[in-house]
Assembly symmetry: C2
Homo-oligomer: 135 residues x 2
């Protein structure tokens, strides 16, 4: 048993109490995956209100850092994300949302299914990006 | 085509140049998944040095925010993460690392395979955690 397993860490890591550890700017990182095949669709953030609304409505809400506003995913695109399961990580500062996507099934504003559509490749010490999306 | 597709955003989102957008504290979020079955293992952070060492060595390095130090995953646990593929998201502030895990195949310091071993369940307006890990 490591030192991290004792006391407060133990309750945080092994307990049944949901105690999300928001960052200094009030956010949790959320990884969103397709509930059916597990594909990673996007990474975004939730503040306390987005988390509450996600749990109470069953539709995923985020906090947009760039726009500074609460955002129900899919409101404009139709790509609503119905929550199938929400998980939290060991130290409760990150979430994993398993979702079913409405509309055309995509999550990225570029039109692709996933935001992670480019591979980083190193060649002669330089990194370049290769598009791997099949949409 | 949305406003976000024009100009600088277009190069960032559609270009072949890897231009990681580190946060104000110099970090990128990294989602790490098992390359074979796609299971989300952990969420951690990379600074520029961790990213460089990951790409040059093929073993995943992170920046530990709690310890304030560069961290080659698995150095103490044996759970080294061999990089199979690194992807970047549309706005280049998050990474997806597809890895093969050494040692016992786990990634979480609690001994479980994944850090996301608890489901958030709402009951009568209160959220509690249910352990779903099969190790």
């Amino acid at each position: 048993m490591s030192a991290k397993s004792a006391g407060a860490s133990s309750a945080l890591e092994e307990g049944q109490i949901f105690s999300p550890r928001f960052s200094a700017d009030g956010l949790l990182t959320c990884v969103t995956v397709d509930a059916d095949d597990g594909a990673v669709l996007m990474v975004a953030h939730m503040n306390a209100e987005a988390l509450d609304k996600t749990l109470s409505s069953g539709l995923v809400h985020y906090w947009s850092r760039s726009r500074g506003e609460l955002w129900r995913k899919g409101d404009t695109s139709g790509q609503l994300q119905t929550l199938v399961e929400l998980r939290v990580d060991c130290d409760q500062d990150a979430l994993l949302a398993r979702v079913r996507v409405g509309g055309d099934g995509g999550a990225c504003h570029t039109g692709r299914r996933s935001c992670f559509y480019r591979r980083v490749e190193e060649e002669d010490g330089a990194a370049r990006l290769v598009d791997i999306a099949k949409n």
